[in-house]
C-alpha cells in the first residue's frame, strides 16, 4: 500500500486538529519536534487503499521566523520529505487565511485547501464558490466542517487525486511586474541547468524575497557571479515600480492583492451580522471593570477543582503505592533489593504519578481556556500589570498554578509562545510556594508563634513569596533576560466550543508525555537519592543495636533505640556526610547540620523535610506537622531567628526533584537548571541571612 505523507498547515484557531480528529480510525502519535518543546503530532489512518501519515504542523500566521511555531513549520516545509500540503482555512475569515495559502503556493508543492468551518460560514452568510476558488489558486479546494463531519470523504479523495498527479503545475499568478522578474531569473537558472529540490520558480521567488538560506546556498557556487546582477536588476525594477525598497513589503503587497482578488471573485457576503455572539460575550468578559473580577473568579474555581477534587484520587494513588511498597517488601523480604525497588523506585515513581490528577484537571481547564479563545482575552486584561515586571499577560496562569504544585505550573508555561517570556516565567514559578511546603510552614509557625497568628502568618508567607517572585522577575529582566520587549500583538479568536474528543486528546497527550518523560528521569533520580541516604552501610553499629533491642524491656525503649539507629545511619550516610560538610555554608543562617540535611533532603521533595526533621530530632519516622512532639522538639532545639531564616530558605530554594526535572525539560537545557539552582540558592541564602540577623537583632 502506498503511503501518502501530508503536511498539515494552517493559521492558529482554524480547527486543524479538530478536522484531523474527525477522520475515523485515526491513530495518533504524540512527540516533540527535535530540540524544542513544541508538540509534534502524527496521525495515521488508511483509506481507499492508501496509508495516510499526516503531520500536524504548529499553527502559523505566515511562513516566517517570528515564533518557535512558525520557525518549525517553515523549516519542516522547506527541508522535510512529504508528498503534499493540506492547508486548512477558516472559511469565516477567508481573506486573511489566504495570505498563508499564497505563501504555501509559492513553495510550489502539491497542495489541497480545506475550507473548514463551513457550518459557521453558512450561518454568517459567507458563500464561497470553491470550484472557482480552486481554479484561481490552481489547487483543489474542498468545503469541510470538523464539527458536522462533512466534506471529509471529499477531502480524502482530493488528497489521493492530487497525490497521483504526475506533475505539479505552478498556478500562482503574481502581478505582471513581479512575474516578469521571476521569469528572468527562472530562464537564467534553466540555462544554467540548476538542480534544486524545489521548483525553479519557487527558488526565484525566494531570491526575490531575500531569503537568507537560499542566499547562503548560492553564495558558495560559482554561478553566483552571474546570478547576482540578474537578481539585482530585478530588485531595481521592483523598487521603481513599488516605490519602496522593502522587499518584504513588496511581497506582502502581492500576497494581499492575490488574496483580495480571489475573495472578490469567489466569495459573497450575504448578510452583514451586526453584533455577533463573540461581540456579546466580549462586551462582558473584556469589560474594563467587570472583566477582571470574572476572570479571577473563574481562576479561583479552577484551582478549587484542581486541588480539592484532585486530592481525592491522589489519596487513592497514595494508598495504592503504599500498599505496593509494603507488598514488595513482604514479597522480597528484608533485602537490599526490596529496599531499592520499594523505597527507591516505587516510592519515586509513586511521587510522580501522585500529581497526575492535579495535572489532568488543571490541563483540562487550561485547554478549555485556550480552545474557547478566552486565554487571549486574559492576556489582554493582565498584560498591562505584568508587563511592568517584564512578564507577559499569559504568565498569570503558570504563576498561579505554582501555588498548588510547581510541576503542572512549569508545564502550563507552555502557553507562552515566546522563548524569553517563557524562560523568565519558568524562573520565578518557584517563588510561588507550592502545597508541599505548607507542612513545613505550619510546623515552624506552630513552634514559634501563638495559634491565633498562624493563619495571618501563613498568608504573609505566601504573599511575600509572590511579591519576591515579581521583584525577581524585574531583576532578571534587567540583568539576565535583558533586551527589548517582544512586541505584543495577538489575535483574539472567536469564541468556540471545542469538541470533547479534541479536549480529551489534548489533555491525555499532555498527561502521557508527563508520565513518560518525567517518569524515566525520576526513576533514576529516586534510586540515587535512596542510595545516598542508605549508604554506606554500618553493619557493626546495626549489630550492636540489634543486641540492645533484644535486651530492651519495653516498646518505648525499642522505638527509642530504633530512632537512635536511624539517626546514626542517616548521619553517617552519604547524605549525612554532605550535611556535615555543608554545615559551614549554613552556619551564618543559624542552622545546625540537622537543618542542613533536612533542607538537602528537601531537594528530593518538600514533604521529606518534616519527616527528616522528625528523624533527626529523635522522634519516630512517622511524623507529621500536627504532632505536638515535633513542635516541642523544634522549639527546644531551634532558636526563633533560625526558624524564621529556615522558613525564608524553604520559600525560595528549588521546589523538588520532580519539579526540577520538569523545569529542565520545559526550559530545554540542563544549563538552565544549573542557573536556576544557583539563582534560587543564592537568593535564598542572602535573604535568609538578612532574616536571621534582623530577627536576632530584634529579639
Amino acid at each position: 500500500m502506498a503511503t501518502i505523507k501530508v503536511a498539515l498547515v494552517g493559521q492558529p484557531n482554524v480547527g486543524k486538529s479538530a478536522l484531523i480528529n474527525s477522520v475515523g480510525n485515526a491513530r495518533l502519535r504524540v512527540g516533540n519536534f527535535s530540540g524544542v518543546t513544541v508538540k509534534k503530532e502524527v496521525v495515521r489512518f488508511s483509506r481507499e487503499g492508501y496509508d495516510f501519515e499526516i503531520t500536524d504542523l504548529p499553527g502559523s500566521y505566515s511562513l516566517t521566523d517570528y515564533t518557535i511555531e512558525e520557525r518549525i513549520t517553515k523549516h519542516y516545509l522547506d527541508d522535510n520529505d512529504y508528498d503534499l500540503i493540506l492547508n486548512v482555512v477558516d472559511s469565516t475569515n477567508i481573506e486573511r487565511n489566504l495570505y498563508l495559502t499564497t505563501e504555501l503556493l509559492a513553495l510550489n508543492k502539491k497542495l489541497v485547501v480545506a475550507l473548514n468551518m463551513t457550518d459557521e460560514a453558512v450561518k454568517e452568510g459567507v458563500n464561497i464558490d470553491e470550484h472557482q476558488l480552486g481554479k484561481i489558486l490552481g489547487v483543489p479546494c474542498v468545503k469541510t466542517s470538523a464539527i458536522e463531519k462533512t466534506g471529509i470523504d471529499e477531502l480524502i479523495q482530493a488528497l489521493i487525486k492530487t497525490y497521483n498527479l504526475r506533475e505539479n503545475r505552478f498556478h500562482l499568478q503574481f502581478s505582471e511586474v513581479y512575474e516578469q522578474e521571476i521569469c528572468h531569473i527562472v530562464s537564467f537558472l534553466e540555462e544554467k541547468k540548476i538542480q534544486c529540490k524545489i521548483s525553479l520558480k519557487a527558488l526565484a521567488i525566494k531570491l526575490l524575497r531575500e531569503d537568507k538560506e537560499t542566499y547562503q546556498r548560492f553564495h558558495e557556487e560559482p554561478v553566483w557571479v552571474e546570478l547576482q546582477p540578474i537578481v539585482n536588476n530585478g530588485y531595481q525594477h521592483l523598487y521603481l515600480h513599488y516605490d519602496t525598497k522593502d522587499l518584504d513589503d513588496i511581497f506582502n503587497d502581492e500576497k494581499l492583492a492575490l488574496a483580495k482578488g480571489a475573495v472578490a471573485e469567489t466569495v459573497q457576503f450575504e448578510k452583514q451580522v451586526k453584533t455577533t455572539f463573540t461581540d456579546k460575550i466580549d462586551s462582558l468578559l473584556m469589560h474594563k471593570f467587570v472583566g477582571l473580577p470574572i476572570f479571577l473568579f473563574m481562576m479561583w474555581g479552577l484551582f478549587q477543582l484542581t486541588f480539592e477534587v484532585g486530592s481525592i484520587p491522589m489519596d487513592w494513588i497514595d494508598a495504592f503505592f503504599s500498599l505496593l511498597i509494603d507488598a514488595t517488601k513482604s514479597f522480597l523480604g528484608d533485602t537490599e533489593l526490596a529496599s531499592v525497588i520499594a523505597d527507591g523506585a516505587i516510592a519515586g515513581v509513586g511521587a510522580v504519578v501522585l500529581f497526575l490528577p492535579n495535572i489532568f484537571i488543571l490541563f483540562l481547564g487550561i485547554a478549555l481556556l485556550e480552545t474557547t479563545g478566552y486565554m487571549s482575552r486574559v492576556a489582554f486584561l493582565l498584560d498591562g500589570f505584568f508587563h511592568k515586571f517584564g512578564l507577559h499577560g499569559k504568565s498569570f496562569i503558570p504563576l498561579v498554578s505554582g501555588f498548588g504544585c510547581s510541576v503542572p505550573a512549569y508545564m502550563a508555561a507552555r502557553t507562552l509562545k515566546n522563548d524569553r517570556d517563557r524562560l523568565l516565567t519558568l524562573f520565578i514559578i518557584g517563588f510561588m510556594s507550592c502545597g508541599a511546603r505548607l507542612p513545613i510552614y505550619v510546623l515552624f509557625v506552630g513552634a514559634f508563634f501563638a495559634e491565633h497568628h498562624a493563619g495571618n502568618l501563613l498568608f504573609l508567607i505566601y504573599i511575600s513569596g509572590a511579591l519576591l517572585g515579581i521583584i525577581a522577575a524585574k531583576v532578571l529582566k534587567m540583568t539576565a533576560f535583558k533586551g527589548d520587549d517582544e512586541p505584543f500583538v495577538m489575535e483574539m479568536p472567536k469564541y468556540r466550543l471545542p469538541s470533547l474528543k479534541l479536549l480529551w486528546h489534548t489533555v491525555s497527550g499532555q498527561a502521557l508525555m508527563y508520565l513518560k518523560k518525567a517518569g524515566t528521569f525520576i526513576l533514576l533520580a529516586s534510586v540515587l537519592v535512596w542510595f545516598a541516604s542508605n549508604y554506606p552501610k554500618q553493619p557493626e553499629v546495626e549489630q550492636q543495636y540489634q543486641v540492645k533491642v533484644e535486651q530492651a524491656e519495653n516498646e518505648t525503649a525499642i522505638s527509642a533505640l530504633n530512632n537512635e539507629l536511624a539517626l546514626y545511619k542517616l548521619e553517617h550516610s552519604y547524605l549525612g556526610v554532605i550535611g556535615h560538610a555543608s554545615e559551614p555554608f549554613f552556619a551564618p543562617l543559624g542552622y545546625d547540620w540537622r537543618m542542613a540535611v533536612a533542607l538537602e533532603t528537601g531537594l528530593a521533595a518538600k514533604e521529606v523535610v518534616v519527616a527528616t526533621l522528625g528523624v533527626l530530632y529523635g522522634l519516630g519516622e512517622e511524623e507529621d506537622e500536627s504532632s505536638s512532639g515535633l513542635v516541642d522538639k523544634i522549639r527546644a532545639n531551634i532558636s526563633l531567628p533560625a526558624g524564621i531564616s529556615f522558613i525564608v530558605f524553604v520559600m525560595i530554594y528549588l521546589p523538588c526533584l520532580a519539579a526540577s526535572l520538569v523545569f529542565m525539560r520545559e526550559a530545554g537545557s540542563w544549563k538552565y537548571l544549573a542557573y536556576l539552582f544557583v539563582f534560587t540558592t543564592v537568593t535564598a541564602w542572602i535573604l535568609s541571612f538578612v532574616a536571621f540577623n534582623v530577627a536576632q537583632a530584634l529579639t
Binding site: T64, E95, F488
Partner: protein
Amino acid sequence: MTLDNLKKGQSATVTAINASKELKNRFSSFGLVKGANVYTEEYSLAKKTMEIRINKTRIAIRASEAEKVEIA
C-alpha cells in the same frame, strides 16, 4: 495621529507603519497594512493594551506597538 490615540468605538485608515521588518510582517499577516481600516473595540484599564478589529480579525496590541501605526 497614531493608532494608540484612536478612541474606543472609532475607526480610521492606516496610512503608514513604522515598525521593524519582523513586526511589520506580523502586522501584515493580521491584515494590518497600509490602507486597512481599523476599529477600536476596547482598551484595558490602564490603557496600556488595546483591542482593535481589522475586517474580521480582532487583535490585542500594546500601546507601545500601536504607536508605530499611523492612521488618518
